[in-house]
Subunit: 212 residues, 2 copies
């Protein structure tokens, strides 16, 4: 596996994957980097550079085969296998995550929800049962969990993260508005919603200062 | 207003704001860039550089006044005023957004929800009524809306975005998994949830390749 790909390139791969998926749905078989660049509003040379990190995939003058390129990018992103997810927190956000059928289409399967609120325990969200948070550790010992989503208040997040990482979970999708300190080898993807709002308020306040 | 601040610096400001808020809550009055850097796991020189973009705020040897610095960063982020939000889409995600009381604490007030589903129209989420999507345009003409969150399927997003931007909305917080093409002067903040999962699957697949 490539060890030297810049995070910026990796961040762009899901977007390539999405555009190629859209093209495939519209029965487009081949596309040049110029055409793809026009659709994606990036330069053709950036597309070529990004994809060259992984060996190119294109044939000079023939463009890219859409299905092959999407599949290859999918492999790079690890989408050629499936992942078991648990969601901790079954409030609106946890339920919203459990209800995204798109995740499953890409191989991310929500296997269980957990909540500390007794009133929520036992509920069923799209066939997935809400279990008591006290059973999280036992569940992790008995089931392979690849990714855990934290849709809980920030004050609860560090202790839950410890239970997760102590029991082998290597990836945390953190919606709690706090930074988690995790052992080496554990990956955290933060979704700090209010920080997105702050980016917008910054732009509204500094009108036009930062247009990309 | 500063016109030359790099997007990377702007992206870090909400995190400074959050850490300073936590310190304030713990009654910390002053902090050196070294102490702040240890808490935030960034270098002290990055902190100084970032803040120097805005004139510094620190006094050599005395560190930063926590409350003043937070307030100043808040002003830069535009948090010294309030914003009217509408949420289009009142499913789980739309409701989750409407239920975040943290947003209000920072000046982001959800004023209305909209949905195309008649069964959802008329419901009330935390005192906020769900209105029919057909009334969105009329609502925008009669009320000042600063930011609109799109918690709707990707196929519906472009037409709703047009209604929004044609009626003066300058900021869109887009949870629909598609890129919106908006007029100049309109800001879009994308939250493509599945792309976060793909970042995690990439990291799990390329174990340790990209640790930051």
């Amino acid at each position: 596996m490539k060890k030297d790909i810049s995070p910026a390139v990796i961040n762009r791969l899901p977007r390539y994957y999405r555009y190629l998926g859209d093209l495939k749905e519209h029965d487009v078989v081949r596309i040049s980097s110029r055409e793809l660049s026009e659709r994606m509003h990036v330069t053709a040379s950036q597309i070529r550079q990004d994809l060259n990190n992984f060996g190119g995939f294109g044939q000079q003058g023939y463009g890219y085969n859409v299905a092959t390129l999407q599949e290859e990018i999918g492999k790079i992103l690890g989408l050629d296998r499936s992942y078991n997810l648990v969601i901790v927190g079954s409030g609106n956000l946890g339920q919203a995550l459990a209800n995204y059928t798109d995740f499953e289409r890409r191989g991310f399967f929500v296997r269980a929800l957990f909540d500390k609120d007794e009133k929520k325990v036992g509920k069923v969200v799209r066939g997935i049962k809400v279990l008591p948070i006290d059973e999280l550790e036992k569940y992790l010992k008995e089931n392979k969990v690849d990714i855990a989503a934290l849709a809980i208040p920030r004050t609860d997040a560090p202790s839950v993260a410890s239970v997760l990482t102590n029991n082998g979970v290597k990836a945390i999708w953190n919606f709690a508005h706090t930074d988690l300190h995790v052992p080496n080898g554990v990956f955290v993807q933060n979704v700090h919603l209010i920080e997105g709002l702050m980016q917008l308020s910054y732009k509204l306040t500094n009108d036009g200062a930062d247009e990309e």
